[in-house]
């Protein structure tokens, strides 16, 4: 049911999802079976006079509470781990770690507006505020295997930047800068959705995350934003980047 996970660390979130879902399914089914048993065994036709006390065997059902407590503790641990990894560590610290490990990274700024995403790139020099900065509409292009740092803000109302395939989401707020970080591990074209009601066209505020192979990314960057390059692996019908960067 879950969409394909293309993020290197998405498994942290998926672990929590699977643990919580399977856990509640098991508890749910067990509870239901116990209840069906009780409803069947003590129906009036079978048991015309109520017992003066609950059978001691059934009283042991209280153990469900203890099971829940233990399950909750495990869930809390795994969930806090995932959350800590993505959002608690300050961005500067993550960047420092990444640089120390010798990993590569790119930075972009995303501004959410009614009803499109503006992605600002620092250009070839990797620095914002210089001549080679450029902007694209609804298109986030990143190289595979690089750490991607996204600074988020809103130009008007609340939106939420959601990449289902990367298991990452954070709200964008006017007047403030929020952030998220992930590491795409698979090339392809993936959808970005808005996850906070922002007006009439909230359901169409679609962006694309395009993950390119490293050398293709460099090639694209050199000719951005006026690229007309196509890459076979993005889709069956050869996606082209056209002027201004809308993906067709």
């Amino acid at each position: 049911m879950l969409p394909q996970d293309i993020s290197q660390h998405g498994y942290l979130v998926d672990r929590v999802i699977k643990l919580s879902i399977w856990g509640i399914v098991v508890v749910g089914i067990v509870s239901f079976f116990i209840m069906f048993y009780i409803l069947y065994k003590f129906r009036r036709t079978k048991n015309p006079f109520p017992l003066s006390d609950v059978p001691s065997g059934l009283k042991k059902v209280i153990f469900i509470d203890y099971v829940m407590i233990i399950f909750d503790l495990i869930l809390l641990f795994m969930s806090t781990w995932a959350w800590f990894f993505f959002f608690v560590r300050p961005v500067e610290k993550i960047k420092k770690e990444v640089q120390e490990k010798g990993e590569k990274f790119v930075e972009v700024r995303v501004i959410g507006r009614q009803f499109f995403w503006t992605v600002e790139y620092p250009g070839r020099d990797g620095v914002f505020g210089t001549q080679d900065d450029f902007k694209l509409g609804n298109l986030l292009v990143v190289p595979e295997g690089y750490n991607v740092f996204v600074k988020l803000t809103s130009g008007d109302v609340l939106h939420s930047f959601f990449i289902p395939n990367a298991r990452i989401k954070y709200d964008v707020i006017p007047g403030r800068e929020t952030h998220l970080w992930f590491k795409p591990a698979k090339v392809g074209k993936y959808e970005i959705a808005c996850a906070e009601l922002c007006g009439a066209m909230h359901y169409r505020m679609k962006g694309y995350l395009v993950v390119l192979k490293e050398q293709d990314y460099k090639m694209w960057l050199d000719s951005a934003p006026f690229s007309e390059i196509s890459f076979d692996y993005l889709d069956d019908d050869k996606i082209k980047f056209v002027k201004g960067g809308e993906v067709r």
Binding site: M1, V13, I17, G28, F32, L58, W83, L197, K206
Partner: protein, 570 residues
């Protein structure tokens, strides 16, 4: 045990039609008024839902603005104009004085006033739907800046102001009711009725009233600030160059209220379930004290979980961990209450009346609802599930099952008491099964859509490639929803028919239930007890007494008053 019918020597006085039915101070009449208005608003809210569900199955049926408006009003109506008036204003008003042996509420005129304020709030809400500029369409959660500048972003300035005004009036009405409930239960119980002998339903109503009283305040403050933003152009929540407000502050104020609010609705419904389950399984509550303490604990804890709605909304990430912990923690008193509820069935002699069927379904569905809160409360998985259909499925499995199914269980259960007639049992059983099947058909697939990453409040799923393949799920949900509403409409016809022409039920206690309200005649007259006064001798759930001819001991008995009360008859 006496089943003395208190019909002799009731105080009557001449009342005009207006005084008796419209502007009555009798808690039963006021309760029925709340019930009827709540049901009417439920039809409205349910119809809005059907319309936007049809759009989800066939996008283009509505415009996208209409869709957002209907979604907004559906949510607001269901919470504030259906669940609260029915569970608190309706059931609370009708049952509390009867269950504690009082003759009316402590402040009957205030009570009447509270209903009419509520009625006016409903009218204003409906008007807000039709004003020029359109109705508010920013979600029942009214997040700014969308809502703080409605003219600019939504074109709906007047509509938003009226929406907030209706909300404010509804809060005022419920606050007045809450003051009444708390004072009445604390000061007007029958002789012998100590607090630990109260029926669970009464406990639940008191905790709910206290929760509402203490939680609604910050939201009222926030609503005032929002109105000032809209009307006077202040910057509490609006962001403009040089003047930066804080949209997230609204979220805090709203959810500080919003979370206790869902327990305000949940607790009375759980109370109804306990009354119904004990009666039809002929067993006492498995552990009365545990339920009372767990409820109070959950009520207090409910003030400490609110930001689980805001994990990815810009709050301090460390505080998110704290809120995740408290959220998971709060599931524990609830699981205790549910285990107690399940064990209340055990050892009993279960009779599957319509009320009991609805209670069983409510209980089972609520287990699903409560459990589904765990993937959301765990902050790590909420990164993915926030604002997806998983949330929608979770809250429908909690709120709908508990508010609607318990309400219907309560209606079947207390119908003979309130109207002196019965609803046909066979119809009731069919109603229960159909509701159960259609409800699950509509709500359960939501979990799968959530797992697929389908965001909420989307006019159509067809714009996104990763969602298009689930369009058939939307169609399934819509068909189930339509059938669900149809079933309820049929029920409403039967309900109203039975009030006037149902089979008569002259016995005051047809279900052989223990609590005090079953000592009064069916229906209870004005001032309830006539020349008798109820006196309580034991706890509220003395069932399973192992008698062969009678297996229960009523909580109290009626004692004839020393001086007969005289008055002219109606």
């Amino acid at each position: 045990m006496s089943e003395a019918v208190a019909s002799a020597g009731v105080i009557h006085h001449e009342e005009t039609f207006l005084r008796k039915y419209l502007f009555s101070t009798d808690h039963k009449t006021i309760g029925k008024q709340y019930l009827i208005t709540g049901i009417a608003m439920a039809i409205l809210g349910g119809t809005l839902a059907i319309l936007f569900r049809i759009n989800l199955a066939h996008p283009g049926f509505l415009t996208n603005e209409q869709y957002n408006t209907f979604v907004t009003y559906h949510g607001a109506i269901m919470f504030f104009w259906v669940a609260m008036p029915i569970l608190l204003g309706g059931f609370g008003n009708i049952l509390i004085p009867l269950m504690i042996g009082a003759r009316d509420m402590a402040f009957p005129t205030l009570n009447m006033f509270s209903y009419w304020v509520f009625f006016v709030s409903s009218v204003i809400l409906i008007i807000s739907f039709f004003v020029p500029g359109g109705a508010f369409s920013g979600g029942w959660t009214v997040y700014p800046p969308l809502s703080a500048d409605p003219g600019r972003y939504l074109g709906a300035n007047l509509g938003t102001v009226l929406f907030l005004l209706a909300l404010a009036l509804e809060f005022a009405s419920m606050l007045m009711g809450g003051v009444n409930f708390i004072t009445t239960v604390l000061t007007m119980r029958a002789k012998g009725l100590t607090l630990m002998r109260l029926p669970i339903f009464v406990w639940m109503e008191i905790v709910a009233s206290l929760l509402f009283l203490f939680s609604v305040a910050p939201l009222i403050a926030g609503a005032i600030m929002l109105l000032l933003d809209i009307i006077l152009g202040t910057h509490f929540f609006r962001v403009e160059a040089g003047k930066v407000g804080d949209p997230v502050l609204w979220q805090h104020l709203f959810w500080f209220f919003g979370h206790p609010e869902v327990y305000v609705i949940l607790f009375p419904a759980l109370g109804i379930l306990f009354e119904v389950i004990t009666t039809y399984s002929r067993r006492p509550v498995f552990s009365y004290k545990l339920v009372v303490y767990a409820t109070i604990a959950a009520g207090i804890l409910s003030f400490l979980v609110w930001a689980h709605h805001q994990f990815v909304a810009g709050i301090n990430p460390l505080s998110a961990i704290a809120f995740s912990i408290t959220t998971i923690l709060i599931s524990i008193p609830f699981s205790m209450t549910l285990v107690v509820m399940g064990l209340t069935f055990a050892g009993g002699s279960i009779r599957f009346t319509p009320a009991m069927l609805f209670a069983i379904f409510a209980f089972l569905m609520f287990i699903i609802g409560g459990l589904s809160g765990l993937p959301l409360g765990a902050v790590g998985s909420d990164i993915y599930f926030h604002d997806t259909y998983f949330v929608v499925a979770h809250f429908h499995y909690t709120v709908f099952t508990i508010a609607v199914l318990s309400t219907i269980a309560g209606i079947y259960h207390w119908f003979p008491k309130m109207f002196g007639r019965k609803i046909n049992e066979t119809f009731g059983k069919i109603h229960a099964w159909l509701t159960f099947i259609f409800y699950n058909g509509f709500a359960f697939p939501g979990f799968f859509l959530g797992l697929a990453g389908h965001p909420r409040r989307y006019y159509s799923a067809l714009e996104f490639g990763y969602l298009q393949k689930y369009q058939w799920v939307h169609e399934l949900m819509t068909v189930s929803a339509v059938l669900l509403l149809t079933t309820q409409v049929v029920f409403l016809f039967v309900f109203f028919y039975s009030i006037f022409a149902g089979a008569e039920e002259k016995s005051p206690n047809p279900w052989k239930s223990t609590t005090l309200e079953w000592l009064a005649p069916s229906p209870p007259p004005h001032l309830n007890w006539g020349s008798f006064a109820p006196v309580v001798e034991r706890g509220p759930y003395e069932y399973a007494k192992n008698g062969k001819d009678i297996d229960y001991l009523p909580q109290g008995k009626l004692v004839k008053l020393k001086q007969p009360v005289s008055g002219h008859e109606h």
